[in-house]
Symmetry: C2
Subunit: 505 residues, 2 copies
C-alpha cells in the first residue's frame, strides 16, 4: 500500500501538477490551503502559473480568484502574481510580488477578518467555489485526510468546492497525525449552537478532514518543505517593547487583575512577538496557555521549557530546525498543541470567553488610539488585518506594538490622525513602543492623547505632536476629539512627497 | 404592606431624594440606571445637581464620574451637565446640554461598545464604583428587585457598587414583573461558560435583580414617567431608505441566503428604523424575531400584529401611548418580550450565533465603506457608537443607513474619507441612502468606491466624488485604496469654515 495515500480510489487519481492545473479554467474561484506560510500547495500553483503565462503569451485571458486561509509563500502568491493570474485575492497576503501588483492597482484584494472568511463563504457572499487545492499529510483508507501544517479554511474549502485537488506532501511530518481538531459542529443561523471550548486544550472535533471522494479530481504527490526561515535575534527596539509589556503584565498581576498564569495569549508574528515570548520565559512564567493563530519556533521553545503548557492555533509555521525539533520530540508536543480551523481559532465567541491577551503589531496609531494595521500612507496595503480584529475586539486586553519610528526616523508610528483605521478607539487598550507604554483603559480622548504622546512617541516627534494637539485644543471645531482637519494628514502627505514625515529643516 | 416596597428593612431606608443625594460626594464614581431614555433615576440626579450648584456657588468643587447603561434624559444627563457636575461620563449619551459641554471640551466622555461596559467594570478597568443609583419597579419581600423599563448595566452596578440607592417608581407598570431575564451565569475568564441562548426567546436567567440589602443606603419613592415622545411619521427619505432595504431583503430571500422568517433583527432607533419596521409589516412578513437593544412603539405595533413573534431587548422605550397599549395588553406582550442585561443583549457570542441582521444609522461613510457613527467633522461627538459595533461586527448582515445629504444639502453623507472611523471597511456590508443601496459583500476597495458613489451618493455630490476618485486612481501613492491625502478631508474642512461641504460657486 502507498504509505501516504491509503485510499484506493484516490490513489487512482494521481497525476502530474500540470495535469491537475489544467483543470483550473479562467474566471474560476479557486480556494487554496495555506496560513502564514505553512501548509500551502507546493506544485499546482506553479504549474498553473506556467499555463497562465503560456495563455497570456498566446493573447488569451487567464485569471482566477484566489481564496486562502491567510498568507502563503512565493510558490503560490508569488508565482501567480508574477504570471498576472489573479483578478481577486482574499483574505490576507504578505508576498512582495503580490503586494506590488495590488498597490499598483492591477489586482483586486479583499482584506477580511480571518474569522469571517469561512462563514461568509458558507453564507454565499463570495459566490461559488469552483475548485479547492489543499495540501495534506496523507489520505486514510476511508478517504479522510490528515491535515498538514496549517488547517486554516481547509474544512470549508473541501466542503464548498465543486472539485478538489489534493497535494499529498511527504515532506510534512507524518507525526502530525492526531494533532488537529477539526470541528464539524458549525451550522448556519438560526441553527447554531455554542462552540464548546472552555479552555485552549479542549478538543471538540476530529483529527481528520472529511472530503467526498467523488469530488476529488486529482491527487498530486509533493516533497517540498514549507518555505519558512528561522527568526533573527530580537533587536533592541523589540526587546525594549517586550520589556515594557512584561512590566505592564507584572503590574496587572500585582493589582489583582491577572494571575501569574495570565490568560490565553494571542501573539502575532515577527520580531516583537518573539521578543515578548522570550521575555515571558526569562520572566519565570510557567504553565501559560496560548489561544492563537500561529505557532512558530519561539513558541515551540516555550512549550519545551514549560513556560507555555498548552497552545491552540491554526498554523504550525516552523523553520526547518523547528520541524526537526518537533519531529524528534513529537510525543511531547502532541500532548501540548492543537491545530484548529481558523473560524474556531479566531472565533469571537471563544476569544471573548477565554479572555485572550491580544498582542498585535501595527503600522501606526494616532494620538487618540485609532490603529492602522494595514495601509502605508492610507493607500498602500502592507499585508492585511488578519486576525488582529478578532482578538483585539474580544480579548481581555488588546495591545498594539510598534517601534516608535521606522526608516531611520523618517516615519513616526505615532501620528496626529491615522491615515487608515483598522482598530478604532473603542478597541485599543494598550499601545507600546520602545519609548514606553500607554494604558488607555478608562481614558477619554484628550487624556489618551496626552498619554500616548508622552509615553509612546519618539522624542524627535514628540514636540510636533504636542504642538499639533495644543493647537487642536485651541482651534478644533469640536473639542471632544480635537483635530486640525487641514493638517491632520499632512505628515503622511509630506512622507509621500519627500519620503520623510519630518518638515525640511 | 407597602405595595411596591415589600422588604421591611428597605422600607425603613426610605428618605428624600435630597437626603439620598447627599450620600454622593465629590470625586465619586456613580453608576446609574438608564438605557435609551428608559428606566433612569428620576429624583436623585436632580437633587444632586442642586447640591452641586450650591457647592459651586460656595466656591467648592463638586464633580463626579457617571456611568450608565446608555443614554438617559434631561432629568439625569441634562441637569448634571447644566450643574457642571460631571468630570467623566460613559458609555453613551444623547442629551443636548451634555453634548454641548463635551464638545466645548469641558468634560471627558468615553464612548464604549455597549457590550464592553459591564465586563470592563468587572475587570477593574474603570476603578471602583462607589454608589449605584438604580430605578426599579418594586422590591420583593426577600429583597430582590423588580427591574424597570430598562435593565442595561443594572445587574453590574448593583453587584459592584459599595453603596446602593434605589428609586422605586410607582409610575412604571407593575405589569412588567416577570418580563426580565437577568443572567447570573457570567464569570471572569478563565471561568467563563457559553451563554446558553440559542434563539431570541430563550430564557436563561431570573426575572429579578439581586442586591445585598446591607448595601442599600437609601430608598426613594418616585412617580414620574420616562420622558419619551412618540415618533413622528417617517419622512420621504426614511421611507425611500426602508424601501431599498426591503427590496434588498426580498432579493436575499430569492437568492436563498435568507428565508422569509429572515434572521433576528437588530434595529437602531429613530425615523429610519421606524420606517423599516413599518415596511416589514406592509411587506407581509410574519413571525419575525428581534434580538436588539430597544423596543419602541413601532416594534410594539409589529408584535401586536404578528409581524414580530418575539423580541429580546434591554430597554423598553415607550411613549405614554405605548405604555398604555402595553399595560392594556400586558398578558399578550409578556409572552413575546424579554428584557435582558446589556452584556447579554449585545453579546458578540450571541449576536454571531443568532446571525442578527444589524440595521444601524450613520453620520457618514466614505467611498471605501468606512463608517463614521459618532463624530461630526471628525471632532464633535454626536451620541456615541452604542451597540452598533457589537452587532455590525458579529451579525449575519451589517447595514448602515442615512439620508444622502443633511442640512438642506450642505452636508453629504458620502465623503471621500470618513473624518472619524467607528466601523471599518472590514465590518460594513451594505450602505443605504434614499438614493439606493450599495451591496459591498465580496467587493474590493475600488469596486466598493464605484458602487457607493453610483448607488448611494446624492446627485449633487456624485460628480465631485467621481472626480476625487478618478484623480486618486491616477495620483494616489498606493492604488489599493486610492486617496489624495491633501484633499481627503477638505470637504469637512470646508464645512467647518463655511457651514457647507460644497465649494463656493
Amino acid at each position: 500500500m502507498h504509505e501516504r495515500i491509503r485510499h484506493e480510489g484516490m490513489l487512482q487519481k494521481r497525476m502530474s501538477a500540470g495535469e491537475a492545473a489544467a483543470l483550473i479554467r479562467p474566471g474560476m474561484t479557486v480556494a487554496m490551503s495555506g496560513f502564514t506560510g505553512a501548509g500551502y500547495p507546493k506544485a499546482v500553483p506553479e504549474a498553473l502559473a506556467a499555463q497562465m503565462e503560456a495563455a497570456h503569451a498566446a493573447g488569451e485571458d487567464f485569471k482566477i480568484k484566489v481564496l486562502t486561509g491567510a498568507s502563503t509563500a512565493p510558490e503560490l502568491d508569488g508565482v501567480l502574481a508574477r504570471a498576472d493570474g489573479m483578478e481577486l485575492r482574499l483574505p490576507y497576503m504578505s508576498d512582495p510580488a503580490l503586494r506590488k501588483r495590488i498597490n499598483d492597482g492591477e489586482l483586486d484584494y479583499m482584506d477580511i477578518h480571518l474569522s469571517h472568511v469561512a462563514q461568509h463563504t458558507w453564507f454565499g457572499f463570495y459566490g461559488d467555489v469552483d475548485v479547492a487545492v489543499v495540501e495534506v499529510v496523507g489520505i486514510l483508507e476511508d478517504g479522510r485526510l490528515i491535515p498538514s501544517s496549517s488547517v486554516g479554511n481547509n474544512k470549508t474549502w473541501l466542503d464548498m468546492a465543486g472539485k478538489v485537488i489534493l497535494e499529498v506532501n511527504s515532506r510534512q511530518p507524518a507525526a502530525m497525525e492526531g494533532m488537529h481538531d477539526v470541528y464539524y459542529g458549525t451550522a448556519l443561523p438560526p441553527n447554531r449552537k455554542p462552540v464548546p471550548i472552555l479552555t485552549p486544550s479542549d478538543r471538540i472535533g476530529e483529527p481528520y478532514l472529511r472530503v467526498d471522494p467523488e469530488k476529488v479530481v486529482a491527487v498530486i504527490e509533493t516533497d517540498a518543505p514549507d518555505r519558512l526561515s528561522g527568526f533573527s535575534a530580537p533587536d533592541e527596539a523589540s526587546k525594549a517593547i517586550a520589556g515594557h509589556l512584561l512590566e505592564f503584565l507584572d503590574h496587572e498581576i500585582r493589582r489583582g487583575r491577572l494571575t501569574d498564569r495570565l490568560l490565553p495569549l494571542q501573539s502575532g508574528v515577527g520580531n516583537i512577538a518573539n521578543a515578548v515570548l522570550a521575555g515571558l520565559a526569562e520572566g519565570g512564567y510557567k504553565g501559560l496557555t496560548a489561544y492563537t493563530e500561529v505557532i512558530q519556533d519561539g513558541m515551540l521553545h516555550l512549550i519545551k521549557d514549560g513556560t507555555i503548557g498548552f497552545a491552540s492555533a491554526t498554523s504550525f509555521s516552523l523553520s526547518e530546525a523547528g520541524v526537526e525539533e518537533f519531529t524528534e520530540n513529537v510525543d511531547y508536543y502532541r500532548e501540548r498543541i492543537l491545530l484548529r480551523t481558523q473560524e474556531i481559532s479566531n472565533h469571537p465567541e471563544v476569544v471573548r470567553r477565554l479572555g485572550c491577551i491580544a498582542l498585535n503589531g501595527m503600522i501606526e496609531a494616532d494620538i487618540y488610539g485609532n490603529v492602522n494595521s494595514t495601509h502605508v500612507a492610507g493607500t498602500s496595503v502592507m499585508n492585511g488585518i488578519g486576525g488582529s480584529g478578532d482578538f483585539a475586539r474580544n480579548g481581555f486586553l488588546s495591545v498594539f506594538m510598534s517601534p516608535s519610528v521606522a526608516k531611520g526616523g523618517r516615519i513616526s508610528a505615532i501620528v496626529p490622525m491615522a491615515s487608515h483605521v483598522d482598530h478604532t478607539e473603542h478597541d485599543t487598550m494598550v499601545l507600546v513602543t520602545e519609548q514606553g507604554i500607554a494604558d488607555l483603559r478608562g481614558l477619554a480622548p484628550k487624556q489618551r492623547a496626552r498619554t500616548i504622546i508622552a509615553n509612546c512617541a519618539h522624542p524627535s516627534y514628540r514636540p510636533a505632536l504636542t504642538d499639533y494637539f495644543d493647537r487642536a485644543l485651541r482651534d478644533s471645531y469640536g473639542k471632544h476629539t480635537p483635530h486640525l482637519l487641514g493638517e491632520a494628514l499632512s505628515w503622511h502627505e509630506r512622507f509621500v512627497q519627500t519620503g520623510d514625515m519630518r518638515p525640511a529643516s
